[in-house]
Amino acid sequence: MATLAKEAADAAKAEGEAPWRRLVNDFCRSPLAVFGLVVFLIVVLVAVFASQISPQNPYDLNQLDIMDSRQPPGERSADGYVFWLGSDGQGRDMLSAIFYGLRISLAVGVSSAVIALALGTTIGLMAAYFGGRVDTLLMRAVDIKLSFPSILIALIIVAVLGSGVWKIVLALVVVQWALYARTVRGSALVERRKEYVEAARCLALSHSRIVFRHILPNCLPPLIVVGTVQVANSIALEATLSFLGIGLPITEPSLGLLIANGFEYMLSGQYWISVFPGVALLITIVSINLVGDQLRDILNPRLQK
């Protein structure tokens, strides 16, 4: 009897517990994921405060000295401070360049993922909610989009529109929206048939209110998972495009462009110009993926006890 009462009390407590609290507890069960989250938060902080913590402003040509070019890591500059990660062909401190590059890479990656999320979610919800012709048409577009590799689609857009920050963001959005649309449609189709939606309809609530206030919150878990992983993917894709020289402009080098700039020196053994921006890129991508993996595990209803 006593155990039964205790179980009931536990259940009541568990129910009273805010969902996000349970989420945090579940998330913290994996030390690796917590580590990933901490690393990612540090990366974000570094990116946000890049101009405060960098030893040098890498865009300010007055601060650059050609005498400092291609110094190995640990060498002192003409002005006396240490190039912890070496300097590039123009005498730019790599550490500062990486901090600034990180900022651009993150901004482009995150903003394109968020725009794609909003667009894809709206399309997926519409397809699921209205069904019929709308659904067929939208999902056929998704199928066609997904049958082409992302790099190819990005290439087509850049080839037609030319490069530039907003064009790259557009390309990344076009690459990603279909994935969100398909994900949200899958869960929205299930939610649509549930009674609370019917109840909302009976209350004569507007379509948009039902879709965004009632159905959408219940479709969030898979979206969060896809969204996390997609931030990493879009950072990687932007880096790839910039590396190919068809991404962001040279005036504001992202990590991909820094790596590309160092490529020519790498063959003569000056590895640091390419390798350190690459390591920064990897740390960012891997930390996001660690977080994404754990989110996938805790938000997957099939794995929940």
């Binding site: 590799p149 190819l152 068809i246």
Partner: protein
């Protein structure tokens, strides 16, 4: 079957039509076709003649018909840089890309299959854990970064393999290929390894999952009870069953690899069509860009069609009539 293929063909034409429309709008409405198809060095008379020949003085829909007519007869303009028809230029570069793609696929199967079978057969062993951890890197590392590291380690530090170009090509059975010469194969190893990395990880994981799933099935127990050795059960019985998803994935990934060859070709200066398109984008050689886009879209449509048909042939459980193509 015939109905399915016909339906897919029709759908393919719709996609092709939409894509040609998109490329057309991109090139003609957003960009300036006069700049795109007429060399900047042309004088005024040449320009006017070309404008008339391209039908640029006509309304937009008529221009689209002109564009389609040109595309259908293989006339997609001449490359500014090479002064030969853009289509011909792409066809010249196509074999190098196909070679790289095929080599990468073979490599990812040759390494991914054994690694996956081992990891599935002995999931608890240390080597299996190393394999699985490695496969995560195969997924999450950007391919261009892996390429750089390959060059740094094997070309710069160790000096074992060349890092740029295609090397000497020879002829086997009338086909010009790098496989024919030692230098060609040496040049092929690093780019192919780079390009195969992602698929290696994918095939390893799929194989492992397939082996683990199939090992629990009754037919394996039955074969073991019959007294067959583990080796025979694994390589004759289980292997056949895990092959179906792998063949499908290889088919689908073929297109992905072909597209990602763009990155690999650029890093290793491999003279394929991927390097051509990047060079053309940087040099504003627009006829080549347009031709490349149309050729690649056609290739993709064909690949997707072949994969769907192959899938149904391999796995009789899939009935094409049910698939909403």
């Amino acid at each position: 079957m015939t109905v399915f293929i016909l339906r897919r063909l029709m759908q393919s034409f719709v996609v092709l039509f939409i894509m040609s429309l998109l490329v057309f709008v991109g090139v003609y409405a957003i960009g300036d076709p006069v700049e795109i198809f007429i060399s900047p060095e042309a004088d005024q008379i040449e320009r006017e003649r070309a404008i008339a020949a391209l039908g640029l003085d006509k309304p937009l829909w008529a221009q689209y018909v002109y564009f389609l007519q040109g595309a259908l007869s293989g006339d997609l303009g001449r490359s500014f840089r090479f002064s030969i028809p853009a289509l011909e230029l792409i066809m010249q570069r196509l074999p190098a890309t196909l070679e790289l793609t095929v080599a990468a696929m073979i490599l990812s199967l040759a390494i991914g299959l054994p690694a996956g079978i081992y990891a599935g057969f002995r999931p608890e062993s240390r080597l299996s854990k190393v394999i699985m951890a490695g496969s995560i890197f195969g997924f999450s590392l950007p391919s261009f970064w892996v390429g750089l590291m390959l060059i740094l380690v094997f070309a710069v530090e160790l000096g074992w393999l060349p890092s740029t170009g295609r090397g000497e090509v020879g002829t086997i059975l009338g086909v010009t290929t790098s496989f024919a010469t030692v230098s060609g194969i040496q040049h092929l190893i690093l780019p192919a390894l780079n390009l195969s990395f992602f698929n290696m990880a994918l095939i390893t994981r799929l194989t492992r999952a397939g082996v683990r799933e199939n090992m629990l099935m009754d037919y394996v127990k039955y074969a073991r009870a019959k007294g067959l050795g583990m080796r025979r059960v694994m390589f004759v019985h289980v292997f056949k069953n895990i092959l179906i998803p792998i063949v499908t994935v290889v088919g689908i990934q073929m297109g992905q690899v072909l597209a990602f060859a763009v990155v690999t070709e650029q890093i290793f200066a491999w003279p394929g069509m991927g390097k051509l398109i990047i060079d053309s984008i940087s040099n504003l050689d627009r006829p080549v860009i347009v031709a490349y886009l149309l050729v690649v879209v056609i290739m993709f449509i064909v690949i997707n069609l072949v994969v769907d048909v192959l899938y149904s042939v391999l796995d009789p459980r899939v009935r094409l009539q049910d698939m909403k193509g």
